[in-house]
Subunit: 311 residues, 2 copies
Amino acid sequence: MDTGPVSRSPRQPAAALLLVVAVALASAARSDEPSPPPTRGLAALVAASSPADWRPLDDENTLYLDLASGRVVIELAPLLAPLHVANIKALVREGYFDGLAIYRAQDNWVVQWGDPDEQRQVRDAKTSLSPEFTVEVDADFPFRPLPDRDGYAPQVGFSNGFPVGMDPATHRAWLTHCYAAVGVARGNEPDSGSGTDLYAVIGHAPRHLDRNITLVGRVMQGMELLSTLPRGPAPMGFYEQSKQQVPIRSVRIASDLPAAERSQLEVMRTDTALFAELVESRRNRLDDWSRVPAGYTEVCNIPIVVRPRAP
Amino acid sequence: MDTGPVSRSPRQPAAALLLVVAVALASAARSDEPSPPPTRGLAALVAASSPADWRPLDDENTLYLDLASGRVVIELAPLLAPLHVANIKALVREGYFDGLAIYRAQDNWVVQWGDPDEQRQVRDAKTSLSPEFTVEVDADFPFRPLPDRDGYAPQVGFSNGFPVGMDPATHRAWLTHCYAAVGVARGNEPDSGSGTDLYAVIGHAPRHLDRNITLVGRVMQGMELLSTLPRGPAPMGFYEQSKQQVPIRSVRIASDLPAAERSQLEVMRTDTALFAELVESRRNRLDDWSRVPAGYTEVCNIPIVVRPRAP
């Protein structure tokens, strides 16, 4: 067994493997040179946070995907896909998804839902949209860049709690395909996605899809209800038989529900000094477990912290 | 619904989302300048492969983790963790894991197994080992570098079918924490891992763990048996109650079994022209679905193809 201190807990024989919850270390500052501030780990940062370090989910742009197993909470990012977000909300409000199903789960790739039989009619929403693989942003676009170079984008960072890519030369931005990203499935034609079929990333970030398909948001709670679904036996993870499909009870917009039925959640803001410290703590871990600081991090390896709102 | 051609298949309304199985496109070469060769997608490359593009799994270094749900096949990489691979094989051969359990599953992180009660005695294997976070390699070390820059390592690439990092300046190499990587849990002390507690990566690659813990191999088949396990309700995904744990029927080394009981698998070699073409096809996708080639890829985003051996 492990001889480290964590091995004393019977149920956590190697708990230190996950020292994401890093121990705060005071760095001994030398007066003759600038020294970086002490780096606290995630748990310490959350404990030290103030109400201003958090924002509530935007109920007008938050979907509840209700399954028999529980609720998946998805926050949409209207700044980064305005047409698609509006159309998905129109689909939700006409009840498009109610009674449909998750019809695909492919390991290390995506879970996908919509109408497996392609029979459901769209009433008022649009059935085709201009692609929003990237969108033009102005100087007011909230963006906190990561310090490290990214292979897939000129720049990456966070916007209002969402991981994004950015091209300063063209003033265009896009949501990135990190774990839990939610996007609009499409056929070969760029305008063939309307939001009737959505997917969530359940594996390693498929960043090569960035700028090739419209992402609309991110699962903020309930990812495990999607990530643990049985993988589909057919090619690309499709469920071959209807009994394998996972029924969708309903999809609703949070603001359409009475307060008592809403999931009261808040997300750590990404434009704060606290978040900057979190990023630095991931770039260079200073805890009792880590030995070699990476000196680097990537946009899909920074935790987006979500928690219940204080009452 | 999608208006693309794939929407004709009732069960695949947005199948093109996963055009990993890319359509081969002939690139129109202009005679006055060098042109890259046409890039074929994964399915076309597999179809075009010859027996020399594959190698059988090394049965002497392949573990079968047998669960009620099926078999997880793990290939060990003795070149990259000789002490730990030898000790894990010693543990397996003394029956250490038989009847133990998977006791942890944390979403977007790891599944971990061993003795949740820390009662099982180690007979002949070692209980402490020098860390093999990196190992020294010589000029004969098989290594196919990726063309792209990596944020976490001076160089990344593949060695005998395993994703690896490399520091040419120090002649040291290490397995990287990609999806399906298998490692040796440890406590805070670097030598506190012996192989009694192992983990597999089930989410986005936690590359910051590279060089901080000893990886020993990779799940080659059966990942979905681990990745779909219910996430543990306790902190860090531990199962709080023994009834939540997933019993391990046995762990055995392939070469210790009669041929009829072995999983006959082969893996695509990573030192071939075919694999180089696969890498290029992932850097720049040329298919009917993709619109913007990434011009980049990363070591954890290249598929390691495993299939049944031809009889």
